[in-house]
């Protein structure tokens, strides 16, 4: 128990202060940091090259400079990232990758070259049609291009063996994360919504090897604890991300238990297990091709609604909480579709519009509270 508490504190603190955690990780590992824009990038290659991959998921800077480049109807992650880029917050990074999951990201990539001239981002072109006979080759070609660019930056090519090792480590990490989300659902009073998020987020700032050991230890410690219940509803959370912490605190205060998530920043990163056969690069490519129910990849049967229904059923949840990230087109497009499917299945939905920088989450407090009350009556 005390070990669990210790690890929870350590990891959640790490997740709560990205800057300090990155600095600490760099110092401890002696590695240079490499920035990774959302949503998914081939982190294994970056790791294999000897860098410390770190996630760049926005923040809350005062917006001053970005208005010279991007209008206000852009999502706040990209506006924040750009602001921090221009401000010099990312100058310490040895490299930076910006993928192309949406029109806003493509535009950010274009602007980055002029707005932050000393940081040359490596673009990563994302596949959307994953069902073509050309899909695998295309992803492999993108991985090869990326590998080459990272190798050039590093001054030496990234070896096959290093990629194999990094991939094995990442698969181990991902398995541990899947286990963690299950373990957390068993003890929702200990792993509150806020802590759950911070612990998962910490992985973006800590060396994966170090982090994986810790999360495995935490999983073990949690397994030794008796099962817990909270008085609030059991829910599945879906969306791009669930932040800021003050927003999650509202769930914690109202006794919500997060039984599982379909968040891009959380489970979508690790829910798909790699195939067993093939080289590390092939297995990386297949992970992309095999990811289901994810708005950031085109899918002709659009299985997200079905997936959410199944998640609710399997975890015995009462409802789905939608964290709709303002101006995120892909997420906004999915909502009407899965909403209809959840409505038809009689699954209640709590729809909340969020931004990373929310001056006040108070307006959401009542909604989160009354949703819990409503569910307790039904």
């Amino acid at each position: 128990m005390s070990q669990a508490i210790e690890l929870i504190r350590e990891l959640s603190d790490a997740g709560a202060s990205p800057k300090a955690t990155i600095a600490k990780s760099m110092k401890e590992t002696g590695k240079e940091a490499f920035g990774c824009f959302p949503i998914y990038v081939p982190e294994e290659i970056i790791y294999a090259a000897g860098y410390l991959p770190v996630g760049l998921w926005g923040g809350h800077p005062d917006i001053k400079r970005v208005d010279r480049y991007i209008q206000s109807f852009c999502c706040s992650i990209m506006r924040s990232n750009m602001e921090m880029g221009i401000r010099g917050d990312y100058d310490f990074l040895a490299g930076l990758v910006i993928p192309t999951y949406c029109d806003s990201m493509k535009a950010i990539l274009a602007n980055w070259w002029v707005a932050v001239p000393n940081a040359k981002p490596i673009p990563f072109s994302v596949i959307q049609n994953r069902a073509s006979k050309g899909s695998l080759d295309f992803v492999l070609a993108q991985l090869a291009t990326f590998r080459k660019a990272v190798g050039e930056l590093r001054g030496e090519p990234v070896s096959d063996q290093a990629i194999e090792d990094a991939f094995a480590l990442y698969e181990d990490y991902r398995a541990a994360m899947r286990a963690f989300t299950k373990a957390a659902a068993r003890v929702p009073a200990t792993i509150t919504p806020t802590l759950r998020h911070l612990i998962i987020k910490a992985a973006y700032y800590i060396d994966k090897k170090v982090y994986t050991e810790k999360i495995k230890a935490l999983n073990e410690a949690l397994a030794a604890m008796p099962e817990e219940r909270t008085e609030g509803p059991k829910v599945i959370v879906t969306g791009l991300l669930a932040e800021p912490e003050s927003f999650l605190d509202l769930f914690t205060e109202n006794g919500y238990a997060f039984m599982g998530d379909d968040l891009a920043q959380e489970s979508r990163q690790f829910r798909t297990e790699a195939r067993k056969e093939g080289t590390a690069l092939e297995r990386m490519a297949y992970r992309v091709l095999d990811q289901r129910g994810d708005t950031f990849y085109y899918e002709d049967d659009k299985s997200r609604g079905t997936m959410l229904k199944n998640m609710v059923k399997e975890t015995g949840s009462d409802a789905v909480v939608v964290c709709m990230y303002k101006f995120c087109d892909p997420e906004e497009f999915d909502y009407p579709v899965y909403k209809k499917e959840l409505d038809e299945a009689g699954i209640p939905i709590l729809y909340l519009e969020i931004e990373q920088k929310m001056d006040s989450v108070e307006s959401l407090r009542t909604r989160i509270q009354s949703f819990a009350e409503m569910l307790s009556l039904s």
Partner: protein, 406 residues
């Protein structure tokens, strides 16, 4: 003797026929396809499949100021106000299937090419789910470089091959590659006439009223692969050429072309009249935009590989240097006095590059410009007062520049 029809008349007739043909096909039990605007229509034309274009359709609805009911329908399903209004209008239309403007029959298949934006990917995915129909999807990935990445082109080519198979399945007929060659030939020629016609605006004064170009955008999308389209654009070209020879400017009422500007972004369809009149009042003529090039889809090789390359080469798929070069070239070639940038709330991909493009045009060539808020179909964004003030400011900047040169 029958009087020769003007290209305008032909255009209107062709558009009426376009929607009627789709309706007839549906009634005869033949498949109808909904397609994005710059998709490999050559394949559909080769298979003689009826096709309609939701973007054009939404624009027509917007121009009739009729978008609100469709937008409301989409929003009642949970569509956000932040989503591209073409997609919202089309989703609403998919629910209602009737408009006072034009009508598209319910689709049997979708045709989606992501070379214009990534928004269409989600949009078409949703429509496919709504109607439970298949999509032929051409994923044209972004090349983060000036030149197009060959591995992207290979990928697009593979998808074109698969599309052929899917179309054979849909129609129960064999794909005729000889016919494809013909269609490609026609498409290339139509695109060339379109380009030649829009290039005539390089003349001073321009023989073309730029808002007219907006009217010809529907036919270049709908009829690029058809002989009727080739004929239309040839006639349009000849009409404009005749005006050039006679020294005629854009307007027939004696208004002089005082300023030549680039219009960036899609038109503000619900306010087409207003946006036009304010410009004309000041003698401002729109002489170009990025559309002439985007629709001028030309391929050197008349093969699937050639097509793949052409469809994957749009400027939005390349890096910012490429886009900036294009704008600078337009500025020089069309002797621009200024630019009007439509900060289109619907079109994030285009909008989020405008500030930098404005700066580059100004700093590299001294071409001033203004930006105004609007939306291509949603009538709730545009403000006439703001637009007027911005245009007024542009006039002053352009005057100052002319003064400095004199």
């Amino acid at each position: 003797m029958e009087e020769k029809k003007s290209s305008k008349q032909i255009l209107n007739e062709l558009l009426a026929k376009h929607y009627a043909d789709a309706k007839n096909a549906k009634e005869e039990g033949k498949p109808v396809v909904w397609s994005t605007s710059i998709a490999p229509q050559e394949l559909l034309e080769t298979m003689d499949v009826a096709v309609v274009y939701p973007e054009n359709h939404a624009a027509a609805i917007g121009a009739r100021k009729d978008a609100s009911q469709f937008i409301a329908s989409a929003e009642s399903e949970g569509y956000s106000y932040d989503i591209c209004s073409y997609a919202r209008v089309n989703d609403g239309y998919a629910n209602i299937l009737y408009s006072e403007a034009e009508n598209m029959p319910k689709p049997d298949m979708l045709f989606c090419c992501s070379n214009i934006c990534m928004t269409v990917i989600k949009w078409y995915e949703n429509i496919a789910k709504k109607f439970d129909i298949p999509v032929i999807f051409f994923d044209t990935p972004y090349s983060g470089s000036y030149q197009v990445d060959p591995s992207n082109v290979k990928f697009v080519e593979a998808q074109l091959e698969e599309a052929v198979t899917m179309l054979e399945g849909l129609t129960g007929r064999k794909f005729d590659y000889d016919r494809l060659k013909e269609v490609m030939q026609i498409s290339n020629e139509t695109a060339s006439w379109w380009k030649k016609a829009t290039d005539l605006a390089k003349n001073k004064p321009s023989p073309m009223n730029g808002f007219d170009m907006f009217n010809y955008m529907a036919p270049i999308v709908c009829f690029r692969g058809k002989e009727s389209g080739r004929e239309l654009f040839k006639i349009w070209y000849e009409e404009l050429q005749e005006r050039v020879e006679k020294g005629l400017g854009p307007w027939n009422d004696g208004t002089e072309e005082k300023y030549r500007v680039l219009w960036d972004g899609i038109a503000c369809w619900p306010y087409l009249g207003v946006t036009y009149k304010v410009l004309k009042k000041h003698g401002i003529n729109v002489v170009t935009s990025m559309y002439p090039e985007s629709f001028a889809l030309l391929y050197e090789q008349h093969t699937l590989a050639g097509m793949a390359e052409a469809y994957d080469s749009l400027y939005v798929l390349r890096n910012v240097d490429y886009a900036i070069d294009k704008y600078l070239n337009l500025s020089r070639d069309f002797q621009l006095d200024g630019g009007i940038f439509h900060s289109n709330r619907s079109c994030k991909g285009m909008a989020f590059k405008q500030f930098e493009i404005q700066r580059q045009m100004e700093s590299q060539l001294g071409v001033p410009s203004v930006i105004f808020d609007g939306d291509q179909t949603d009538p709730s964004v545009f403000s006439e007062a703001q637009y007027e003030t911005r245009v007024q400011a542009l006039v002053e900047m352009m005057e100052a520049r002319k003064g400095a040169r004199r």
